[in-house]
C-alpha cells in the first residue's frame, strides 16, 4: 500500500505523480523501491480521477458497516 500512499501524498501537495517523485518519497521512508511497481503505479493512475475516487470513498463508510454486519 505504501506506493499508493506515496502517490496520495504527492497528490495532496500538488506535486506531479511521476516515477521520480514517487521514488523519492518512498526512499525517504526507507523503502527498497521497486522500479516496476512505481512504473505500474504511475501508469495505472494516469486515467484515474483521484479526487473523485476519494469522494466515493468518503461517501461510503456510512454505508459500509451495513454491508459488513
Amino acid at each position: 500500500m505504501e506506493y499508493v500512499y506515496a502517490a496520495l501524498i504527492l497528490n495532496e501537495t500538488g506535486e506531479e505523480i511521476n516515477e521520480d517523485n514517487v521514488t523519492a518519497v518512498l526512499e525517504a521512508a526507507g523503502v527498497d523501491v521497486e522500479e516496476s511497481r512505481v512504473k505500474a503505479l504511475v501508469a495505472a493512475l494516469e486515467d484515474v480521477d483521484i479526487e473523485e475516487a476519494i469522494e466515493t470513498a468518503a461517501a461510503a463508510p456510512a454505508a459500509a458497516p451495513a454491508g459488513g454486519s
Binding site: V4, E46, A53, A57
Partner: protein, 298 residues
C-alpha cells in the same frame, strides 16, 4: 382368498341383492379412482348438498356394507384392499379425476358444524379472544366455568385471550356445548371423510393424498439452490451458473488486487479509496487536533 370368503361366495343370495352387487361392480369398474368415505354424522340434507356439489367430478354411491364388500371382492384386482376400510357408515366415491384432486375436493366440501354435548372433540376447541357481543350477565361466569379467560369490559363480555377449552379427544360437556352454541362456534368439520382410494393399481391413504403444494414449491427451490451451489462450488459451469462463476472469479481477482495493492488500472480507484479510508480511520484515533489537518479535525 379366505375360507369364509369362499363360503360367502357360494352362498345363494336374493336376486335383488345380486342386482345391487352387479351395479356396484359396474360403479367400481367405471371410475379411474374409487374411494371409501365415512359419512358418519352428516345430516342427510347436507349430504344431498355435497353430492350435488360433487356432481360431474365425483359420484357417491351408498349401499349396505355387506354388499359393498361383496362387490369390491368380486372386482378383485386390487380393489379388495378397500374392504378393510368398509366399517361403520361408509359410502363409495368414484371419480375419473386423480385421487389427489378428489381428496382436495372432498376437503373443500367440508363445512363447519356445531358440536353436541357428549361428542368427542375432533380437534382442540378454542374460544378466540374478542368481544362476545353478549351483554354483561351470568354468561361471563359460564365462560369462566368452561375455562375461557373472560370478563366484562366496556359494557359487554370480552374474552381476553384465545382460550383452549377442550383438547382433541375429550368429551364435550353440556355446559361447554351451551357456551359454544351461544357464541356460534362450530368446531366440527363435517363432510365426506376419505379413508382410502384405489387408483390405477395404487392404494392411497389420506396422508398420501394430502399434498402440500407449498412444500413442493419449496423443495424445487431447494433443489435449484443445491444444483446451483454444486455447479458453482465444483466449478462445473452451466448456462445458468456461468454468470455466477464469472462474477465469482472477477470478485476474487478484485479482492486479491485490493489486498495486494496491485498497481493495476482496474484497482486504482478502489486502492485510492482504501488509502483514504485508512487515513480517516487512523485520524479518528488521534485525539490531538494539532496533529491533524483541518479537514480531518473532528
Amino acid at each position: 382368498m379366505s375360507e369364509s370368503e369362499s363360503v360367502r361366495k357360494t352362498e345363494t343370495i336374493p336376486q335383488w341383492k345380486q342386482d345391487e352387487v352387479d351395479e356396484l361392480v359396474d360403479f367400481v369398474e367405471n371410475f379411474a379412482s374409487v374411494g371409501v368415505v365415512g359419512v358418519t354424522g352428516i345430516p342427510s340434507r347436507q349430504l344431498q348438498n355435497m353430492r350435488r356439489e360433487l356432481h360431474g367430478s365425483a359420484t357417491v354411491r351408498m349401499s349396505r356394507n355387506t354388499l359393498l364388500v361383496r362387490a369390491l371382492e368380486e372386482v378383485d384386482s386390487g380393489y379388495e384392499d378397500l374392504v378393510d376400510h368398509i366399517d361403520g357408515q361408509v359410502a363409495l366415491v368414484g371419480t375419473n379425476d386423480n385421487p389427489f384432486g378428489l381428496y382436495k375436493q372432498l376437503e373443500a366440501s367440508k363445512t363447519p358444524a356445531p358440536i353436541n354435548a357428549g361428542e368427542i372433540a375432533p380437534n382442540d376447541i378454542v374460544i378466540p379472544e374478542g368481544d362476545t357481543g353478549v351483554d354483561p350477565g351470568p354468561f361471563v361466569g359460564e365462560l369462566q366455568q368452561v375455562g375461557a379467560q373472560a370478563r366484562i369490559m366496556d359494557g359487554s363480555i370480552k374474552v381476553t385471550e384465545d382460550s383452549t377449552v377442550l383438547e382433541a379427544g375429550e368429551e364435550v360437556s353440556v355446559d361447554l356445548a351451551n357456551v359454544l352454541s351461544e357464541l356460534g362456534i362450530e368446531p366440527k368439520e363435517v363432510g365426506l371423510d376419505l379413508r382410502a382410494v384405489y387408483s390405477e393399481g395404487t392404494l392411497f391413504d389420506p396422508e398420501d393424498l394430502d399434498i402440500d403444494v407449498d412444500e413442493y414449491r419449496a423443495d424445487i427451490q431447494s433443489a435449484v439452490s443445491a444444483a446451483t451451489n454444486l455447479s458453482v462450488n465444483a466449478v462445473f459451469p452451466t448456462t445458468q451458473t456461468a454468470p455466477t462463476l464469472i462474477a465469482k472469479a472477477t470478485g476474487e481477482a478484485k479482492a486479491l488486487g485490493l489486498a495486494a495493492a496491485i498497481e493495476d488500472p482496474e484497482f486504482m480507484p478502489d486502492l485510492v479509496a482504501k488509502a483514504d479510508a485508512q487515513l480517516r480511520a487512523l485520524a479518528a484515533q488521534i485525539d490531538d487536533e494539532e496533529a491533524l489537518p483541518e479537514e480531518l479535525r473532528g
